[in-house]
Symmetry: C2
Subunit: 506 residues, 2 copies
């Protein structure tokens, strides 16, 4: 990697009077200040050109990864601020990098143009087997907050993303159930609409009347009876809107930014502030959306998406005594929302859904042990109670896929298992796309790192989570078993009891 930087350092007073001393000073900087920490035989950074105009010192610095010129510049600012402050009572006002060129051979050469769309990137050029990254207009915040490093990292990320394709996921079958006899091969959604069991309220948002509600609540009862109570998970009620700053910690921002439902509160509560809006609506019976937008604060939160992040936030900067571990929780206190880009048609892919989120926190061994116990119990439910045709696959962890960090986990213990089931109405079991109806993730220390919590003795904490999507269970169950309770598995019907009656409307 070779770097070439053009910068201006501005002082609180003119420094022309120092012009004659500068050649010696620059030589000392190059040979001493810029050599610190650089291996003897390696190149660091060097000032190759300089000029003084009034209060400004104009510099060109070239360098290598052993001392990157922007780090050299920060080091120089500190040095000159001390030296000139002491000797002449002159301070450093600002530093500014007008141009910064970085050349390097990436691990893999991109096949198409790579762009990083931020104001500090002027251009990224492919030349022979090198990339030339032209940066511009970096101020001290940009330099100190490591924008340069992150731009380079982002470029590598994008090259990888493009090589492997945006959606390519690792997928590895790890288990499959026996085949089940098909009861019907119809799509349950239109039939349920016809019967008034459900009604489409909005894109991907369904109103569930008593029949489907009872079926889903029976799934919940099964989960409580077979999993949550015997394994001693405790119910919690997690907030159902999440500040974007929290998702910045988990990588959901920006990873899933295109899938959130964003939330804005009113700019002011004061009814007078809203009076023109109220007048407009009362007079026209129409909603003036432009005026409304002006009355709202910026969108700084989203509706529940991954469900578990607020729980990790609870432990922020805490030490958890070893004897409290493992901690086991579940939450089913509200809906989650996920924008899928429209074009949804049935209950198998919803924008609004009801999920039981299961979270466990402990040492590595505890977390893996609980995962195994959960897998056993899920198997029992799907095989013995719901009698589904389903399978499990190891996939790229959702948080890695969403955060754009593709790549295979080295450790087998960390990762996500998808539970998938056959939807006969989509076609033959061998050819059609199966539905992911549940997943289970061991996230390692991802979340304890993000919120900085450890055991009392300072040991690392692992977490795991698993989401039971009630609508997904419903979509799978009805697709495989039909809408007639007399054809449903006996064990399930015993727990279900009688279905509420249909309401006949005209």
């Amino acid at each position: 990697m070779r770097f070439s930087l053009e910068a201006t350092m501005e002082f609180s007073k003119p420094i022309d009077f120092l012009k004659l001393d500068f050649p010696k000073l620059i030589a000392r900087i190059n040979s001493e200040l810029f050599r610190k920490g650089v291996p003897q035989e390696q190149e660091g950074s060097r000032i190759v050109h300089w000029n003084i105009i009034g209060t400004k010192l104009i510099l060109t610095i070239e360098g290598s990864t052993y001392l990157r010129p922007h780090d050299a510049l920060l080091r120089l600012r500190k040095f000159l601020a001390q030296k000139f402050g002491r000797e002449y009572n002159i301070g450093v006002r600002s530093i500014f990098v007008k141009n910064y060129e970085i050349r390097f051979k990436p691990k893999r050469m991109p096949k198409e143009k790579v762009e990083v769309k931020v104001p500090w990137v002027k251009e990224i050029v492919q030349k022979d087997k090198e990339l030339l990254v032209k940066l511009q207009d970096l101020d001290s915040t940009a330099l100190e907050d490591r924008y340069v490093e992150r731009i380079l990292k982002r470029i590598e990320e994008k090259i990888n993303q493009k090589l492997y394709g945006g959606k390519a996921e690792h997928w590895e079958l790890i288990w499959k159930s026996r085949k089940r006899k098909v009861v019907w091969d119809k799509d349950p959604t239109p039939e349920m609409e016809r019967r008034g069991w459900i009604k489409r309220f909005n894109v991907g948002v369904w109103l569930h009347m008593p029949i489907t509600t009872k079926i889903m609540r029976t799934f919940q009862k099964i989960a409580e009876r077979e999993i949550l109570r015997p394994l001693k998970f405790e119910e919690v009620m997690l907030p159902k809107t999440v500040p974007l700053e929290v998702w910045l910690q988990t990588g959901h921002v920006p990873g899933s930014s295109n899938s959130f439902f964003y939330v804005c509160r009113p700019e002011k509560w004061d009814p007078e502030f809203w009076e023109d809006f109220a007048d407009w609506v009362k007079v026209t019976r129409k909603i003036p959306y432009d005026l409304l937008t002006e009355k709202l604060a910026e969108p700084n939160a989203g509706i529940c998406f991954a469900q578990c992040p607020p729980l990790y936030w609870y432990f922020k900067k805490k030490l958890i005594p070893e004897k409290e571990l493992p901690l086991k929780f579940w939450d089913a206190s509200g809906v989650s929302y996920r924008w899928e880009g429209g074009g949804l048609h049935g209950i198998e892919r919803d924008c609004e859904f009801h999920r039981i989120e299961i979270v466990w926190i402990g040492t590595k061994e505890q977390v893996i042990d609980i995962k195994e116990k959960l897998l056993e119990r899920f198997k029992r439910i799907f095989d013995k109670i719901l009698e589904l045709e389903w399978r499990m696959a190891r996939v790229t962890p959702w948080y890695m896929a969403q955060a754009g960090q593709l790549g295979l986990e080295e450790e087998k213990e960390i990762g996500t298992i998808d539970f998938e089931a056959w939807l006969p109405w989509r076609g033959p079991r061998e050819k059609s796309e199966w539905l992911e109806f549940q997943n289970l993730t061991v996230a390692g220390t991802k979340f304890s790192d993000a919120w900085n919590f450890k055991t009392e003795k300072g040991k690392e904490i692992w977490t795991g989570c698993s989401g039971i999507g009630l609508e997904r269970w419903l979509a799978v169950f009805l697709a495989q078993k039909g809408l007639e309770p007399k054809k449903w598995p006996k064990k399930f019907v015993k727990i279900l009891g009688k279905l509420p009656k249909e309401i006949k409307l005209i």
Copy 2:
């Protein structure tokens, strides 16, 4: 009421050539067309001045409530379009009211200036004992969609609002419980925070760990056991974001517009559309809110507020067979949000809350009968199980207060009952403000009118609803009974069982 309107009617071709015929035509219009439907002895509308310039007919029309000049103008347009169309093949291009003055004595004279902040209102002037309303720039949409009538109605509404004060509610005590011995007089919120039972996630948003979750779920269990199951209410799952157009039907828009949490989905799902946002976040680790706002669709929905409206929407334009009635539902499938303007401190007033919404639908008699049964059962819960000190008051129905239509309901059957309880930490029972912890409303035909549903035989349908706010029950219960289960009512503890243990963090 006296009206004076200046309008222009534009034709598809010049009508100068008709100038000579016009005096006779105008006389006929005044004496025939504008007299239709006006009582013999009353004044209707009259064209008092006219002029023709090219394609334009310029008019001044004066009139009374028996035929308002803007209605006369619409009538005239129809008449001339037919007549000129037939005779000269000339059509009416447009009508436009440049100025429109309306003078009247309001029922009550306002004490301060009244404003209706829409572009069609130029000024509202108080003169002697009259109001002079100056309107402007009304096009055919404004005239046909009755903006004029609604502006006048809005003025009356505002006069009433100002006279009675924005928040003044009718409040009438209808029942109170016996006094209860005070267990403590502390505010439970800070103590629960100290113990880690709850943690403040955002303004008015609390994370509930296992202890308070179990207490609230026990309240829910009590509601299910004592009310919902014995009275045969069926659980449903109602959507938890509501399009603003639905709230326009119920009057929540604009009535409660200052209290919603608004929801926007992404303008596009396409990850490329989001790439510059992702780049910015990855490089700066900060969220560029301006850029984010550009990427979102307009706010066209809100998070669940009153909870029941989507259920009425389900019955839109349906006839319900008499034998299906009464219908009884409850929903507890997600959280509700209400912006209170900040400054919240404890769990007794939240932005996010969990509510069991109970809704019943039937004939007037059925709805009132169910209300009585519910009141009885609520009484039993608060008196015998939770042993609260509480009272009931008849108040202005929430939907009327919110929609700005203050005033006493004439019928006693329609209206809202607030359940209020003493919070000892707020001060003596006689002097402190009690907390509304629940309400019950009989809404008459408000919602069946809004969505136009009736019985199969065409009879009117009434609805009732009642919201059990779990956080409110919690706030009241803990304020009166303290945080130590050994001091709690025996019947409650029996249903509760053992509390989960506190998690000790360091």
